[in-house]
Symmetry: C2
Subunit: 194 residues, 2 copies
DNA sequence: AGTACTGGTAGACAGTGTCTATGAATGAAA
DNA sequence: TTTCATTCATAGACACTGTCTACCAGTACT
């Protein structure tokens, strides 16, 4: 019943196909029937493993959170960089993920998914948020780490979304998102060298 | 061809019905056929005024932006409050709108709407963003106003979304969004009294 | 009076998610 | 070995969606 890649069952294959599909074709194509089609199975087959479309989508989105978490921990490593520098890295990883995997990022933050509760935020986004809180706590020991981390996460998410569909480019005239990211990091954490 | 409320044509009525519907029943109910049904016309009727479903949704969303803009300018007034205080007001208005009109806010920032370009960001969100840039420029004369305003807008939007579906409550354990808002404002603008 | 045109109707079409009945294959029990 | 039960996928129906097209009742104008 685990979701290993070695699992050769249909359940795992559906998720695999979904991850592939959302990465290459976007989030609109991610219909139940299309996934079943690409998995080479009838449209009723997924029902045995995912009682509803939303649950299949949630399973796919969970892979996105796992992927994002893996990228983050890999980029952070366990090297001795300063908390502030590691937070910069984390921000870069977050936005890079959002911009290189726009379909997956869109799926991960779909209203109906999140509101359904099928996603299991506690298991998906909370671990990475814990890393964020920890780093913020060490970068700004005097502050309320959870609060600042929450505000910073919101800022990253907002940049990811607004930049992702071009609003911020239009509004600010910018062509690179890095200054925005730096502004957000500086705002919440103070300048790089302090 | 204007979109006044006094306009008694079907075009205006469809938008009216849509605004009502999204406010009371949410964004999922906002189908073309349901809007037509509630407007008392056949499902093919809207096609004469809105060639596609997305264009009708865009027209409805534009009313949301107009409403948000009206609330902002009304709350800001032209009183002599400090730029920093007015930015606090603006942030409150923004988040209050997002939380009291969640369906409309969700509609206004739907991926397919924004990516279609039918929304006309230049006419909808840009004016309010201009106000934001102006206030930021006066609150922090030394900074790049457009950049800070962009980062701040992203922060507001992120708080609106993440708080809206409960992620930030779960992550930070908070039960009130105001501290988050204050943290964001303090971060980007400096503390209230400076 | 006749003729365009405006603005709405009604039905078809392909596609969607869900539900149900059916059936093939597998493995356990007799 | 034969029966039986369970697992798992199929196929079709259903209600619903957005879009397209044929039609048609008025209205306004020549």
């Amino acid at each position: 019943m685990n979701e290993n890649e070695a699992d050769t069952g249909l359940r795992a294959r559906l998720i695999e196909v979904g991850v592939d599909l959302v990465s290459t074709a976007g989030a609109q194509v991610l219909t139940l029937r299309e996934i079943a089609r690409r998995a080479g199975v009838s449209h009723g087959a997924p029902r045995r493993y995912f009682p509803t479309h939303l649950e299949l989508l949630s399973a796919i989105a969970r892979r996105g959170f796992a992927d994002l978490g893996a990228r983050a921990t890999e980029a952070l490593g366990d090297g001795g960089a300063s908390p502030r520098a590691r937070l910069t890295t984390l921000g870069r990883v977050y936005l890079d993920f959002a911009f290189t995997q726009p379909g997956m990022y869109e799926l991960m933050f779909r209203h109906d998914l999140l509101e359904s509760g099928k996603l299991g935020l506690r298991e998906t986004s909370l671990p990475l948020f814990g890393v964020l809180v920890d780093l913020v706590g060490r970068a700004r020991p005097e502050a309320d780490a959870a609060l600042v981390a929450g505000a910073l996460w919101a800022n990253l998410h907002g940049i990811a979304q607004l930049w992702g569909w071009g609003s911020l480019q239009l509004a600010t005239g910018a062509t690179d998102f890095v200054p925005l990211l730096d502004a957000a990091l500086d705002a919440h954490l103070g300048p790089e060298e302090r």
